[in-house]
Symmetry: C2
Amino acid sequence: MDADKVFKALGDPTRRRLLDLLCEKNGQTLSQLCENLDMARQSATQHIDLLEAANLVSTVKRGREKLHFINPVPLHEVYERWVRKFERQRLSLLHDLKQELEGEDQ
Amino acid sequence: MDADKVFKALGDPTRRRLLDLLCEKNGQTLSQLCENLDMARQSATQHIDLLEAANLVSTVKRGREKLHFINPVPLHEVYERWVRKFERQRLSLLHDLKQELEGEDQ
DNA sequence: TTGACATGCAGGTATTTACCTGCATATTAC
DNA sequence: GTAATATGCAGGTAAATACCTGCATGTCAA
């Protein structure tokens, strides 16, 4: 997993919208996806290229169409690497801050 | 939670490194953090400002020092909104893609 | 009180990003 | 075969980003 590509891919509202659209209906074509975006098809393609580079979306060509599918694996890996780690320490991290704030008041 | 700010904050290796540093030792000063980064202090400050804007880091002033603390809450919210959603559909999404690939072979 | 230290603030620049337009190619339908 | 459709590819621009340097301010300690 390339955390940089995954987070950068997720760091744009258009690309998150694309993932949501595919979550509603997987396997849509480029044209179908574009109907729900307010930009030129070519611009959407560039966003999709980044999602593909981050391995968040896989595509299959069928005739002249290109079908798009979500790949949830990188998101899971992001969770394992970046969320669970902090999640485990969540209470103690908040405890550190609370202690510091109380120290200030005294 | 502002998903855009959180993902954009996470979409940079320096800022992820800062979070890792704070995970190792919470409550560090700006100078301490800078010792582990290969850039000017002012540049690190700009990265920290983004982490603060995303609410991933909170700070407390103590005398002439500024202490930095991780806030794990936004990461948890990202997980709830962006990871669990796809996680729940993980198997069915992969099923869609598998079906499509098999359809191509026939 | 003065020098050292920690941080803040104000620009300046090179690179990346997110759009666009115009045109080319490939597939399908009549 | 030809027109319509779906996508690919090549540039061009404005804004955002990630750095930097230089200087100002505030705090501590001798």
